[in-house]
Amino acid sequence: MSTDWKSYKPLLVPAIPDLHEIKVYEKNGGYKALKKILSDKKKWNPANVINEVKTANIRGRGGAGFNAGLKWSFMPEPDGKPRYLACNGDESEPGTFKDRKIFEFNPHQFIEGAIIAAYAMQIEVIYVYIRGEYRPFVQKLQKAIDQAYDNGYLGKKIQGSDFSVEMYTHMGAGAYICGEESSLMESLEGKRGYPRVKPPFPAQRGLWGRPTTINNIETLANVPLVINNGAEWYLSIGPSTHPGPVLYGISGHVNRPGVYEYPAGMNIMTLINEVAGGVRGGKKLKALIPGGSSTPPLRADMLDGVSMDSDSLRQAGSMMGTAGMVVLDEDTDMVEVIWRISYFYDHESCGQCTPCREGTGWLQKTLRKIMEGNGEMRDLDILLAICHGMEGRTICALADAAAWPVRYSIERFRDEFEKKCKKTVYAVA
């Protein structure tokens, strides 16, 4: 609950020096959850592990917010052939910089969570997909993985049990779209990252046509907490509809930007003003992009009483996304910000679907025209028409992610857009 945040002790990335070292992690209760499961496999059979995680309602921290345990339950019965877990550390949504904290400061909690996930879904191979720009973080995680192998937590017959699992890192090479789960699988298979048509869903046909589950890094780091303390305990952290600890990445115009860990459902103004030290330079808040660039921006006056959880943000007219909050002060030119976001999606569209490939370009160009003072009022209608032509008409959600910020900004900051468009009309007249 947001009232006791000041006394909150981080659970995903605790303030323990050298926690990335396996001995320190073990000394602080690390790998206890895995041992608990492996020492009583009757009580903790795969189905029971899935149930516990499902009950805990860990909402996927990669942006979609889907119940992780429920996702696990979609995996079919094992048929003796390979099945895979792909851990998504692509972390490319602008405004998002949280999973790197886990790689740097607490990699073993993620590794432990991934091993438990593999056990629950009866998977023997785990791939950790990390964006290529995070090379130093890939190296940090690799070190932790090597330690886990050396200490018998990965590899054959883990801790003397009959359970075996391998974990490999796979480095991307610069492509936002590879954070989309089916594109991630294409990239893992050594191809251009073109998203796949769904269905079939990854649980039916994923990597190399075999059942696959894709989970975000932070999501998996929550799993040992649930096994150690129980689903009920986990549900008591934050709102039960969106429970657990969350890594909030706060950037933009605040005094103390950074990644903070607090319960889900933190009051947004508390996060901006108290946690992150308020808007820089004593300025007023203009807008907030709550969960990465694709989540619709909210005006300052729309933030009263809104908290960082899916329900509250949906009511306010946005989304939780990755909890990467970008704070914008009163001097921000919203047209410019939205143009830069559109430029990003134009650059990152994989080009597979026409509405997205062409639409992202036209959004960007039209916004640029307005930004440069050459806009006309009808450009706003054109922008909205382009958005309409993109949303829901493509294989993956990149087109939607590109359209939403534009659509909602025109709606919520219409004055600013009109002012720039009208200026030209007067100048010509």
């Binding site: 405004g95 720009e133 796979h170 191809k191 251009r192 970008v326 994989c350």
Partner: protein, 179 residues
């Protein structure tokens, strides 16, 4: 004239280990391209050919992969590649100012390489260091955060002297308060 590149026995042993991570050889395309680029400095068509032959995957496929991902250099590039983030959080925190300062200092535009081949400059999309903006990445490796003109001057001087930047850790502010 395109150069001919080769992998030696040690390289091939390393590449074999990369291939063994996957059920199919083709899956090793990205890691082997990374390996090749680390060795040769770029992934131009002759490097692509080498990777194609090593993995027994069509050259056209390798070309497709190289051109899809931004971090593979399709042709030889400066010894130091400065990727300045100008996306969202960096954009609203002076990312373009830093890019323009670098353009001024190096006498080149984004997308170009200095005549001595020492520096290439690029304006890039979000690198995942939003709280430490403005920032840049040096040749697909270390992040240099909280950029200022002074910090850029120092960085250029260091890189010219062959000194790579150190890894900058950005602890969680909560931790600093508690300890």
């Amino acid at each position: 004239m395109a150069e001919t590149y080769t992998f030696d026995a040690k390289d091939l042993a390393e590449i074999k280990k990369l291939i063994e991570k996957y059920p199919e050889k083709q899956a090793a395309v990205l890691p082997v391209l990374w390996y090749a680029q680390d060795k040769f400095g770029h992934s131009d068509p002759s490097v692509q050919k080498l990777v194609s032959e090593t993995l027994d995957v069509p050259e056209a496929h390798i070309r497709g992969v190289v051109s899809f991902y931004t971090q593979y250099y399709e042709k030889p590039i400066g010894r130091n590649v400065l990727d300045v983030c100008t996306c969202l959080s960096c954009h609203v925190s002076g990312g373009y100012d830093m890019l323009h300062y670098l353009e001024e200092r190096l006498g080149i535009k984004a997308g170009e390489t200095t005549p001595d081949g020492e520096f290439s400059l690029q304006s890039v999309e979000c690198l995942g260091a939003c709280g430490y903006a403005p920032m840049l990445q040096v040749t697909n490796d270390k992040f240099v955060n909280h950029l200022t003109r002074e910090k850029i001057d120092k960085l250029l001087e260091d890189l010219r002297a062959g000194k790579e930047p150190e890894f900058e850790s950005n602890p969680m502010p909560q931790h600093q308060k508690e300890s």
